[in-house]
């Protein structure tokens, strides 16, 4: 039950080499000096602690099963809306095999197309064409990983960063402005654009962090509202001379200069750009930050139990602001992946729905950087595959949204998945004891 005492144990990495105690404060373990009564009082008041535990310690089997179940739901939807299936269903009782084969045809065509457009095109001629879908997956995964890291980092500090969308927009806006306005040498220009993107995202995330830390404003509400403020801000600046493409009446900016674009990794035949490497570096950075740095230790301590962290001398307000600034910066990087990587010019839907997808990515990745990377790759594959599926079989890409949300719903409720698959975990049916064992499991 005692949150701070468990903190170092929750992360296997940090048990091997305990992080240095924050300067001028007692080590994390000493925070357990709280009376049990205080802790017992604090824990039901703090749902985020148990949420963090559930997100970070759930088992991998549930994730796999959740993905399988969600693809099954998608398959049902695809089959149910296929005309071949519905027409075969009208004479189901006379020839049931017709309907079953129609269902098989419909679903296998859809998921086959999705696979070929996401990983490896078995029907293509030549290796380059066959491998092209995989590079598309990596390209789409880039902003998902970056923005997902932003959401995941905030989660670990107990904050819900719903504001990925707005942070991406601000990042793309500033990076884009640097990209198409300034004239600089190749390397420097890109660097400056990326820094501008980071600053843009960090400001937008920081607003939520400061309002949370200083005014107690609920970060969920603030970040949702900031998303919409960013959308309208973007639409506004796209009508001003500084941003609007000369000679155009549409809300679209000029193309960024080539010097401010991420270099393409495999040449002009592929869209995959250096931003993907940046995303991988960001994964490493967040991992280091959370598991190896003093700041990361403080952030995790605040996420586990803010009251105990405060007692241990950690500045909780500063942790909130730091977390949101870094989270925003990561989302801002996702914005640069869009503007300097794939899109090259600023328009109203520069952020697509990456900010919202990032939330699902972070949840699927259990808020840990490595997990977030794999989740980003999976959702990148789903999205890239969905585009191919839509153009080959006519099945709307919206099915990807449905599959994604089902994945998250199933993952967020492990008892549900366990009961569907009848996995016995030795837990009693009673909800109370389930909660208790979950907590005990987190401590083990």
């Amino acid at each position: 039950m005692s949150d701070p005492a468990n903190l170092p144990d929750r992360d296997p990495a940090s048990t091997q080499t305990p992080p240095p105690p924050p300067a001028g404060s007692t080590p994390g373990g000493a925070a357990a000096g709280n009376t049990p009564a205080q802790l017992a009082e604090a824990s039901p008041q703090d749902p985020q602690a148990s949420l963090m535990r559930r997100i970070t310690t759930g088992n991998g089997l549930v994730s796999v099963l959740a993905i399988v179940l969600s693809l099954l739901v998608g398959a049902i939807l695809i089959a149910a809306t296929d005309e071949r299936v519905t027409s075969a269903a009208s004479y189901f009782f006379s020839r049931p095999t017709d309907m079953l084969s129609a269902i098989w045809a419909s679903v296998s065509e859809a998921y086959g197309a999705l696979f070929r457009s996401a990983f490896f095109n078995t029907q293509a001629d030549g290796f380059a064409n066959a491998i092209y879908p995989l590079t598309e997956t990596l390209t789409v995964a880039t902003p998902l990983i970056l923005a997902g890291l932003g959401v995941a980092l905030a989660f670990r500090v107990g904050l819900f960063n719903i504001g990925g969308q707005g942070q991406i927009i601000l990042g793309a806006m500033l990076a884009g402005w640097v990209g198409f306005t300034l004239n600089l040498p190749a390397g420097l220009h890109l660097l400056l654009a990326v820094v501008a993107g980071i600053i843009g995202g960090a400001i937008w995330g920081g607003i939520a962090g400061v309002l949370k830390a200083k005014r107690g404003a609920h970060e969920v509400i603030v970040t949702i509202m900031l998303n919409y403020i960013a959308v309208y801000l973007l639409l506004y600046v796209l009508t001003t001379p500084g941003f609007q493409r000369p000679g155009s009446n549409n809300p679209i900016s000029p193309e960024i200069h080539e010097s401010a674009a991420y270099p393409l990794i495999f040449g002009s035949g592929f869209r995959l750009h250096l931003g993907f490497i940046v995303a991988l570096l960001a994964v490493a950075f967040v991992w280091w930050l959370l598991n190896r740095s003093t700041t990361g230790f403080e952030l995790r301590a605040v996420g586990a139990n803010p009251q105990a962290a405060r007692t241990a001398g950690i500045n909780v307000s500063r942790a909130y602001i730091t977390a949101m600034v870094i989270a925003g910066a990561l989302a801002g990087l996702a914005g640069t992946a869009q503007i300097s990587g794939t899109e090259r010019s600023l328009s109203g839907d520069i952020a697509a729905s990456f900010g919202f997808d990032a939330i699902t990515v972070a949840l699927l990745g259990r808020s840990n950087p490595i997990g977030t990377m794999f989740a980003g790759l999976l959702f990148g594959a789903l999205r890239a595959g969905g585009v191919g599926m839509q153009s080959n079989t006519g099945i709307p890409i919206d099915i990807v949204l449905v599959v994604q949300s089902f994945i998250v719903l199933f993952i967020a409720a492990p008892p549900l998945v366990r009961s569907i698959f009848r996995i016995h975990t030795g837990q009693k049916k009673s909800r109370k004891s389930t909660a208790r064992t979950a907590k005990a499991g987190g401590a083990a």
Binding site: F160, L211, R215, G216, I221, M225, L401, S405, R431, K432
Partner: protein, 429 residues
């Protein structure tokens, strides 16, 4: 979940030692100065003409013509006085009266409206139409925020208002088209929205999944599902699946001819009249009945409520379901009144404006009603201003609900405190 814990000051109020919240007076002072500089000193020295009656109206009321300079100065003085009053109260650590922020907002809106119309290329606006249009935009927002009030007063955060509205709009469109029945359309909207609500309820209450997560995911799920079904089923067969009937206005003769207020009070569809009834019922139910007392107890202090024998989680479950019913009617408004067919993601973020209205309205049905009206007005004004050609970009008007809400939750526009146990699952000890 956190607002209350991180700002103990907002809960202790005037209990000594007084913690003064300077947010509100400072914000009001800044806004008052904006009015002084922008609308009074920066007056375009023109006159703004507000047409009250249309040519066809039975009752003709002369146009109201207001000089921007005069109105600018008068309102600026009033606003400065209100800001000064707020400062005085805060200095003495007294709580601001409840009318202060709404009154300030109303005067500021008048000042802004006169200034912006006066500055337009065509300083002439059909005021009754502006109000009636705002009202039509506000009705689904009001239903949405009532849904939020019902959920959050019982302690369940409802981020899924957007999804509920969208599901309602979809259900109304498809069933209304197939059955050609308005009643069936509304019922289908309610069922669709209730399904969304029940998923929220089951996941957040039974499985204790974080309510914000469920809400966010439900929005994505409903958007994906309705867009998918729209593309696969509705689009190619729109005459069969996407041409629902529309509600007609029921005009109360005589009363509907009252200038400005007639159309919004006495020339509405059944859903419009139903909205008034819903606001009243939710307010009456929450604050005047035993049921409401229990709901609020469950939302504020579930343990205490449990101790006196209230079934906390059952209560929450049915409240969330009821919220679905209300939001469903709001969703039906999109496809059975404002638009003649369903379209992909047609709610376009209105569920979040409803959420904003709920917060700015301080989790109170009446407050949410007026906040939604204000937001509907700002939306409609942004359309009107685009036509009139004014210096204020329409995007800023559309941004307004969100900005106001950020200020509200940051305590910069008075206190805005959620129910104490909002978002916290209840586990019986």
């Amino acid at each position: 979940m956190s607002t209350a814990t991180t700002t103990p000051s907002s809960r202790t109020g005037s209990i000594a030692p007084a913690i003064r919240n300077w947010g509100a007076p400072v914000t009001l002072a800044v806004l008052a100065l904006v009015a002084l500089v922008g609308f009074a000193i920066g007056s375009p020295h023109a006159s703004a003409r507000f047409r009250i009656s249309a040519d066809a109206d039975a009752l003709q009321v002369p146009d109201v013509v207001l000089g921007t300079t005069l109105v600018g100065w008068i309102t600026a003085v009033v606003l400065l006085a209100l800001a000064a009053y707020s400062f005085a109260l805060t200095t003495r650590a007294q709580p601001a009266p409840r009318w202060l922020v709404p009154a300030f907002a109303a005067v500021w809106v008048i000042a802004f409206l006169v200034w912006v119309i006066g500055s337009a290329n065509n300083p002439n606006v059909y005021f009754s139409g502006l109000i009636a249009g705002s009202f039509t935009l506000a009705i689904p927002l009001i239903f949405g925020s009532l849904s939020g009030v019902l959920c959050e007063r019982s302690g369940v955060i409802n981020i899924a208002i957007e999804g509920q509205l969208l599901a309602g709009a979809f259900g109304a469109a498809i069933v209304g088209s197939i059955t050609h029945s308005l009643l069936a359309g509304v019922l289908a909207a309610i069922v669709a929205s209730v399904v969304v609500s029940m998923v929220l309820a089951v996941f957040s209450i039974k499985y204790m999944v974080n309510q914000v997560i469920v809400g966010v995911v439900l929005n994505v799920l409903v958007a994906g599902l309705t867009s998918f079904l729209f593309s696969t089923v509705m689009k190619d067969n729109s005459s069969l699946f996407n041409s629902p009937p529309s509600f007609h206005n029921i005009r109360i003769p005589g009363l509907a001819d009252i200038p400005v207020f007639g159309p919004i009070l006495f020339d509405q569809t059944i859903l419009g009249y139903g909205m008034y009834l819903a606001v009243f019922l939710v307010w009456f139910g929450l604050f005047k009945t035993r049921w409401g007392l229990r709901v609020r107890a469950v939302g504020e202090h579930p343990k205490a409520a449990d101790t006196v024998g209230i079934k906390v989680n059952t209560m929450r479950f049915w409240n969330v379901t009821l919220a679905g019913v209300v939001a469903g009617v709001g969703g039906a408004f999109f496809t059975l009144v404002t638009s003649s067919s369903f379209n992909k993601e047609m709610t376009a973020g209105q569920g979040f404006i409803a959420l904003a209205a709920l917060i700015f309205g301080r989790w109170n049905p009446i407050g949410a009603f007026f906040a939604a009206l204000l937001f509907g007005f700002s939306l409609n004004l942004s359309f009107v201003l685009t036509i009139l050609g004014t210096p204020v970009p329409s995007q800023f008007m559309q941004m307004l609900p969100y900005v106001v809400t950020v200020f509200a939750v940051a305590g910069l526009a008075g206190k805005s405190r959620p129910p104490a146990s909002n978002g916290i699952p209840y586990v019986k000890e």
